[in-house]
């Protein structure tokens, strides 16, 4: 027997001995699947990497397939952008919160709008009753936008705006506001969420049906490719898909399927893939199941690189890289014993960083109860700073790379997500799948299954179905939005509607309607309309008139 053979035998014997010992041993009566229900092996070893080629599968950061990160230096050159989502009450209230966050070391802004703004209603609409300024800031007109960014240097911050069916209007307001401040559009940096497909799948804010909604998304992509080249016109979002109760694999699959949908539609519009793909960005959730989450980010990058190169023939390396924002999972936070949420957010944030995110929002401990207080937001921001500057995990790029478990899990997630994408392709693409309610039903099933696992105690949430405090009092202060916000915003809008040139507004709105009927790109017309102070609700009404209104089919 040669030396080599006896070495191999020894390894095999060690493996067999471990298997025997593991098999004999008493195991805890616990569930060993991930939060998404994926089976996890008790131990991963070289056998889990059979057939896996580390050169082509993992490679190097900054190189295809980007499993280890999109930049060659990752956090050694630049940390991720710490970007806390903020918005509540009046534009004045949120402007103060923005300035507070910037003065505490935050490096980018992220705007949360209230529900009326997000659904295309002005603060004085009957549909807005009781909701003005509650879940975000109220913006009905260019005037509100000007107050929101008053005193903030637009050429020095990057701004993210979470808005979808009314994104084209909000973006037009941002552009005109910048123009009035003397900042040219090519200097603007930021991201518009503008992802309508995931609205129908999960977040559920819409005006018109999927077809015309996607048309307006592509209008913004095309407009940016030609005139606002530093801007990310869409942030393809899995966040809300996960919050709606999907598994990690579903989040990844449906998000990339949405991305494929936008790329296909943009190419149909006549754009060259490398003309817009470098500015596509992504937004993922980061949940409690630490290893599954790190693997999800790694799989996402590898999948997108393959999709863009092999399916769409993209050549610019920037078209192949999946740039992503991450946010810790809101749905994972508990109203019970809310201070425990700080620990959850820390684990999730660490997963996003080890997953190689480009920017991160950490949720505040009080967010299941209300919008966050200044104190709670500060703890959330400090959590990121502690990870960045104390934990040491930023010193080495992709520290999990090569781990038996991490590489095999990344490959499994990739395979399962591609299976979903194949299925969606066979249905005729993501728009057809959404019209059939396919992703919506898959997610509802997963959400229900997880809830039953909680109700029966198979899965644990500390403080909710285990280690419960009876009769606990909420130990933390909560932010209250005063009822006066709504009345104040309504009055301000009424006043604007008296002051502006109403004849010009009417003409600009008519121009948008005609452009919609002709099938033109609406962006230039919307920009002109908001410049004359046409409101968000008025322009949304034109969308309703031109394209119709979508009604929730109410699957459950």
């Amino acid at each position: 027997m040669s030396v080599r053979e006896s070495d191999l035998d020894k390894k095999k014997m060690a493996r067999e001995r471990w298997e025997r010992e593991y098999g004999r041993a008493q195991k805890r009566d616990a569930d060993f699947t991930t939060i998404s229900g994926m089976e996890m092996p008790p131990l991963a070893d070289p056998g889990d990497l059979a057939g896996f080629d580390p050169e082509s599968g993992v490679g190097y950061p900054g190189q295809f397939p980007y499993t280890r990160g999109i930049h060659s230096t990752m956090y050694r050159s630049r940390l991720w952008t710490m970007r806390q989502f903020a918005g509540f009450g009046t534009p004045e209230d949120t402007n103060r919160r923005f300035k507070y966050l910037l003065s505490h070391g935050q490096t980018g802004l992220s705007t949360a709008f209230d529900m009326p703004t997000l659904m295309g209603y002005d603060s004085d609409s009957a549909m807005a009753r009781g909701e003005v300024g509650r879940e975000g800031v109220s913006v009905s007109s260019l005037e509100d936008m000007e107050i929101l960014f008053d005193g903030i240097d637009l050429d020095r911050v990057t701004t993210s705006m979470t808005v979808n069916c009314s994104a084209s209007i909000i973006f037009a307001m941002y552009l005109v506001m910048a123009e009035k401040k003397g900042v040219s559009w090519d200097k603007l940096r930021g991201t518009l969420q503008n992802d309508m497909l995931k609205e129908f799948i999960a977040q559920r804010e819409w005006i018109s049906p999927p077809g015309p909604s996607v048309k307006i998304v592509i209008d913004v992509i095309e407009f940016c490719a030609r005139r606002v080249r530093g801007w990310h016109p869409v942030s393809i979002s899995g966040y809300h898909i996960r919050e709606a109760g999907s598994t990690a694999v579903q989040e990844l699959a449906f998000t990339l399927a949405d991305g494929i949908g936008y790329v296909e539609e943009s190419i149909k519009r006549g754009l060259d893939v490398d003309d817009f793909a470098p500015r596509l960005s992504f937004f993922f959730n980061v949940h409690n199941d630490f290893l599954e989450e790190v693997a999800k980010f790694r799989a996402a990058r590898r999948m997108w690189a393959k999709i863009m190169r092999d399916r769409f023939g993209a050549k610019d390396p920037k078209s192949l890289t999946l740039k992503t924002h991450a946010q810790t999972a809101g749905a994972s936070l508990t109203a019970q014993q809310p201070i425990n949420n700080v620990a959850r957010v820390t684990i999730q944030a660490l997963a996003a960083v080890l997953g190689g995110t480009q920017s991160l929002h950490t949720n505040s401990m009080d967010e299941t109860l209300a919008l966050p207080t200044e104190e709670a937001v500060t703890v959330a921001l400090r959590t990121q700073q502690i990870i960045a500057e104390e934990s040491g995990v930023v010193n080495t790029i992709d520290p999990f790379g090569g781990s038996y478990l991490m590489e095999s899990l990344t490959s499994r997630i990739e395979k399962e997500a591609f299976d979903y994408i194949d299925k969606i392709d066979r249905m005729g693409g993501i728009i057809a799948a959404i019209e059939e309610g396919y992703p919506q039903k898959e997610i509802a099933d997963a959400a229900y299954k997880y809830q039953r696992e909680l109700d029966t105690g198979i899965k644990t949430i500390v403080g909710v179905n285990k280690y419960v405090h009876e009769d606990e009092e909420v130990p933390i202060p909560l932010l209250k939005i005063e009822d006066e916000v709504e009345e104040g915003q309504r009055q301000k809008l009424a006043d604007l509607k008296r002051r502006r040139d109403n004849k010009a507004v009417k003409a600009r709105l008519e121009d948008i309607l005609l452009a919609a009927r002709r099938g033109d790109n609406l962006m230039p017309f919307i920009v002109d309309a908001v410049r004359d102070y046409a409101t968000l609700g008025e322009i949304s009404d034109i969308f309703r008139e031109a394209y119709g209104v979508y009604r929730d089919p109410g699957y459950f």
Binding site: M119, G130, E131, A370, A447, N465
Partner: protein
């Protein structure tokens, strides 16, 4: 199937609030428990919810509100129910509702407010105990 299992329950979302993960789970759990469940889907006015309650002849209305508009929507829907002669319909709900607002909502006629983390079994149990068929 017992008497209580033939109860008709309207599960509704009012206003612009798009959070429907919880409401769909509750609707499904109540249906699986044997109740007749009618789910409104998203984005209804209080008037539309009450109109559906009338048309569907329901015994209870459960509302899910995560938008912060609970102090407006619950009392408004209760007022409209009374106006339509449906004052005996049991109104309950859940969502993101601060503890300090719950007492005020109960005084205005909301029979139960379920907070985040409530199990579906608890909601089913409560409905069985507290909702009775309306006298016709």
């Amino acid at each position: 199937m017992g008497q209580e299992n033939r109860l008709r329950i309207l599960i509704g979302k009012a206003g612009l609030d798009g959070h429907d993960r919880g409401v769909k789970i509750v609707a499904r759990a109540l249906r699986d428990a044997g109740f007749e469940v009618i789910y409104t889907g998203l984005h209804n006015t209080p008037e539309a919810i009450v109109e559906t309650a009338l048309q569907e002849d329901v015994d209870a209305v459960g509302l899910s509100i995560l938008s912060g508009a609970h102090n407006y929507l619950f009392p408004e829907i209760i007022r409209l129910l009374e106006e339509k002669g449906l004052g005996d319909v049991t109104v309950f709900g859940g969502g993101i509702i601060p503890k300090e607002d719950i007492e005020g909502l109960k005084q205005k006629g909301v029979k139960a407010v379920f907070e985040p983390g409530t199990s579906t079994d608890e909601i089913i149990g409560w409905v069985k105990e507290n909702v009775s068929p309306r006298a016709l």
